[in-house]
Amino acid sequence: MDAHLSAAAERRFPGGMRVEARFGIPDPGFSVTVLFGPSGSGKTTALRLLAGLERADAGAIAWGGTVWADAAKGLHLPPQARNLGFLSQTYDLFPHLSLAANLAYGLSERPLAERRTRVAELVALLDLEGLEDRHPAQLSGGQRQRVALGRALARHPSLLLLDEPLSALDRPAQLRLRRELRDLLRRLDVPTVLVTHDRAEALQLGDRLVVMDGGRVCQEGPIQRVFDRPTDPAVARILGVETVVLGRVVDVSEGLATLAVGEGQARIHAPDPGSLGTRAYVCIRGEDVLVERGEPGPSTARNRLRGCIRALHPEGPLVRLTLDAGFPLESLVTRQACADLGLAEGEPVTALLKASAIHLIPHD
């Protein structure tokens, strides 16, 4: 691969746990690569491998023309030599230094005038005016996050590494800062690798997605393609596709596949992804499943599945329905719709699904 960043390194821990950083960043301009996966999947370790805070026990990492690490040659460039901006989950601001001193910390070799200018720039960029003399303990969570980001940006890093940059903030601040963060990164034109376990955060901030599970990279690619076309069921589950169920391929014709799913008569129609064998995983997102009461009327939806409601779980303005349609099927509907239709446990319903909303993952 001719990527600007190419990482194919592995860290081995005592006890057998292995974590790999295996992905690339195509070019040195702005892009956000999201390392996504459940907690414990090795995202942070992968990020630390890039930072040089963990030593690769196997494999190599190269940035542009520079080899950052090569286990075979015993090569390991320390973090100091990689020109990175690294932001940890806890921000790690220096408690004994003022906000301005924190921002200027990495600039100690530059002349005083340059240091002052840069700090003033960062203070303006991150909207921290008037707080220069405060210590981290006197700042709010959002302010600390911005200081930490500013400190990481101070030296004009060629790569920015952000470990759950918003997780220490309260929910409203997270939502507000997501958009701000992406706009800011775009303006700075720095490639960024960002770790998160929040699907919405990944979708909103990322351009490219690297899905990790159990220390392995399961899939990598442009974010929408990975979300729409997960290559294996584990990825689908990690990405939060609610229904992932194994089906038997009964028919493939004119680009449309028909699968028998579950114990009963349920049939699923979905676009043929090609190379379908005898079995495939059917991936269905909750928001794509419409629910009607009684018998289905005429509709363009190719899939009409009869079933009944097994459980209802309110989730904010939405209600998550678990249907029994011959297989467990999850549907996400609004609270209002739920009330209007008088949906309750045990009620018979029909689930409507457009074929195009269903994604098949071959499995043989």
Partner: protein
């Protein structure tokens, strides 16, 4: 009052503290952050003076510094006088004897510094050495002060090692604690009482200072 002995003791304690600061900082840093498997052996060696009878430590030091040992011979060749029963010999012995009193508080204070802060510093391009000076030291000043005060007070009060290595030469190796011993031997209880009271006062003051500091370990930058 044996002012000569007091001066000597203070000089010895001050020099020991300075030497231990220079020696103890890197050693404690290594102990606090190394991942070497044999670290425990070094820890045990550093802690030895805590449990070893001073006479045992003094005996080995005496043998090591004696005129027949390579070290003793090299020292004599270099300086013209023997190492044993000299102030320099006493200083070397004091440094070893007070090592755990300095290194352990240092290492405990360093280990309490969040590793994330050091990593943040490294990622900002700052070397490990500069990170130590700019992040670790300012954040563990209380522990460093404790270690220095303890080594000073401990050196002031040592007796067994001094007697073994230094003997009892006025102006060269007779420290305050030895002076008390001499005064009691000479049945001069009044003088012994005065000297003892002085040592008691100094030691108490120093320890009260340390524990007071520990109590007030509130970091000066957290004002609220």
């Amino acid at each position: 009052m044996d002012w000569e002995a007091i001066r000597l003791s203070l000089r010895l304690a001050a020099l020991t503290t300075l030497a231990l600061l220079a020696l103890g900082l890197p050693l404690a840093y290594w102990l606090a952050f190394t991942r070497r498997r044999w670290k425990f052996l070094v820890e045990a060696v550093v802690a030895l003076p805590l449990v070893l009878p001073p006479t045992v430590l003094g005996f080995y030091l005496l043998v090591a510094m004696g005129s027949r040992s390579p070290l003793g011979q090299a020292w004599t060749a270099l300086t013209g006088h023997p190492l044993a029963f000299s102030f320099e010999g006493l200083l070397a012995a004091s440094i070893l004897y007070s090592l755990p009193f300095t290194v352990q508080p240092f290492a405990a204070a360093f280990a309490a510094v969040d590793r994330g802060l050091m990593e943040a510093s490294w990622c900002l391009g700052v070397s490990r050495g500069r990170t130590f000076l700019r992040v670790v030291v300012p954040l563990s000043w209380a522990g460093i002060l404790t270690g220095m005060v303890l080594s000073f007070a401990h050196t002031l009060g040592e007796f067994g090692v001094v007697l073994m290595v230094g003997g009892d030469l006025p102006g060269r190796t007779r420290t305050v604690s030895i002076a008390v011993f001499d005064q009691v031997q000479a049945l001069d209880y009044a003088a012994a009482g005065r000297t003892a009271l002085l040592l008691l006062g100094v030691s108490f003051t120093v320890l009260a200072l340390v524990y007071g500091l520990r109590r007030a370990q509130r970091k000066p930058w957290t004002l609220i």
